[in-house]
Point group: C2
Chain length 333, copies 2
DNA sequence: ATAAAAAATGAAAGCGCTTACAATCGAATT
DNA sequence: AATTCGATTGTAAGCGCTTTCATTTTTTAT
């Protein structure tokens, strides 16, 4: 491996100068710089970032913890981050937490041992306090898709209440009044908040919330199917159904089809998240867009600004969802 | 930051011993080890992996280049890799190449500068020669989803010919004889090979290959729609259509529905890849499974074995696709 | 032309760890 | 009890770079 030392000798300068042409090219005289660059080229020099990191105490690496790598959600998010970081020549060290507190902690620890300059965390199992403590210890981190009051400035998340509200408002606006709701797991914040938004919209329209029109699913497709079956069996009557995510909406559509109800002619369906496959369903699923890529980008911007002192990028802590109109909703009859 | 030195002083041993309890705990006497660990705990010591990497010339980091992060394909692949690497305490540094030769090279370079112990590359733009050269230079790398004869031992890929063959054979087996084919881009190896497999199956059944039943798409959904429209306009007659991927199959289904042909009653459809949304379509899409997660896992195994000298994991260079039966294929009539 | 200021360079001390190699210790052998 | 040999530990030389501070060179002002 050729080192900075060898380059400096070949170029007849000190190694400090070589380091300068690598890191602050404009602080060395043009002629010297050319000399050095020629030497580097001739010797086939490759900068050793590990050594540089040790000496400078900066790794230009962001640690990223997500629950899983598969599925399209986290890829989209990391894609948003990567796009922003690449231009700044930062890299991402990726780890998965598997929604398990022990693993999440281990991974955070490992990333810190690797001296990541900052962490971007989508962690689900670790407690709020644990994260608050990290921040107190001076760890540079941003939490995505989760809101923790005490470190609100470190959180980037979607306004789920607004999203739930928008979905149901859309159904109300096109004339529905009997609206079923397939909720996500209610012990999760997003499940809870989306339902809250649904209730807000109903209230705004002066329609009482009816528990018998609500089914608590678990965000999986199957529970959407189950939800519709259960509601219908219980004799619930509705012309539209809002689901807390697209998977359940897809499951709901399957159940409706089985029951001979056409979508959207007999029953309108709206999802939430706008996942990749939503547009492949037929009819295309009307849904609420989760700007996941943007969240990833915002996380990158936070890091660039807070950790690397880049000039202010556009930034939002709480992102707004928006309605995506496709084919599964229409006025009743 | 607490260093090994401080720990060694508090424990009354040399720093070499502290290093040993970190890296080879069983080479130090139990009593000493406990002493050291106590000191580490008390001081809140955190190992500095960067310094360790510099000294040992090993980073325990694998560089990963994929074209993009969004979509479900690369997430699934990286997930397979991560699962295997996590147990070995290796980490992944991820970069995207955007199917652009310049960017791909830059990223490979950056990963090498960061002294990754090995690279896993899904690169599409860079030439075979470039990769062969890297190998010759002693770069530890494995190429996924691409086969390069000269460095076959470094490649992990799917048997696309077999996949194309299986798809069409399935249609033949259930009685179809007039089979249309929506190909992927034929300048790409996978597009070419899948078509080849299709032709092989036809030949095996003694059915001549008819160019008028083939349409060259570009792997996007829209080109599937376009393909069906074009073939029908040209007066082609068929009872089944095989597509070179699921997106195009989905597009084809849309076109068929528009034309009033039911799937699978009037026309059977088979895709390729078994992407996430294939099972969400209705009817569920019959397709060929691309074992992408397994490819990711095999890449990890290659690295673990070749680079870190782990004992042999199970390993395959050319993975076999398999038929996934769902609802879009049935016997003619 | 000369002094002062600014720019460019060099010397050298780390950054925190690993790892020969040497030294020491302790148990086993005779 | 002396010897041997393996197990433990310590010493110290790096790993390849950055960065402070001092020195030299160049530029600017007078």
């Amino acid at each position: 491996m050729v080192t900075i030392k060898q380059v400096s000798e070949k170029a007849g300068v000190s190694s400090a100068t070589v380091s300068r042409v690598i890191n602050n090219p404009d602080t060395v005289k043009e002629k010297t710089r050319e000399l050095v660059m020629a030497a580097m080229a001739e010797l086939g020099y490759r900068h050793n970032v590990v050594a540089a990191s040790l000496a400078s105490n900066k790794t230009h690496t962001i640690g990223y913890v997500v629950p899983e790598l598969h599925g399209s959600f986290f890829g989209a998010m990391m894609g948003g981050t990567e796009q922003a970081l690449r231009q700044a020549k930062k890299h991402m060290l990726i780890a998965t937490g598997h929604s398990d507190a022990e693993i999440e902690k281990e991974q955070i620890d490992a990333l810190l041992s690797r001296r990541c300059d900052a962490l971007i965390l989508h962690v689900e199992a670790v407690s709020d306090d644990y994260l608050v403590n990290l921040v107190k210890q001076g760890v540079q981190l941003v939490v995505v898709n989760r809101f923790i009051e005490a470190i609100g400035e470190h959180c980037i998340s979607l306004d789920n209440i607004k999203g739930g509200y928008l979905a149901t408002r859309h159904l109300l606006e096109i004339g529905h009044t009997k609206i079923a709701y397939v909720a996500g797991s209610l012990f999760k914040d997003d499940g809870k908040n989306r339902l809250l938004g649904h209730q807000q919209a109903l209230a705004e329209w002066g329609i009482g919330y009816d528990e018998n029109l609500t089914f608590e699913g678990n965000f999986q497709a199957r529970s959407g199917t189950e939800g519709i079956r259960t509601l219908v069996e219980q004799g619930a009557s509705f012309t539209a159904v809002a689901c807390a995510n697209d998977e359940m909406a897809s499951g709901a559509m399957i159940a409706l089809r089985e029951l001979g109800r056409r979508v959207p002619e007999d029953v309108s369906v709206i999802g939430f998240d706008n996942v990749d496959f939503a547009s492949y369903l037929s009819p295309g699923l009307t849904t609420i867009d989760y700007p996941v890529q943007k969240i990833g980008r915002m996380a990158a911007h936070w890091v660039l600004e807070q950790v690397y002192g880049h000039v202010r990028h556009d930034f939002e802590h709480i992102l707004a969802p928006r309605l995506i109109l496709r084919g599964t909703t229409s006025s009743p009859h």
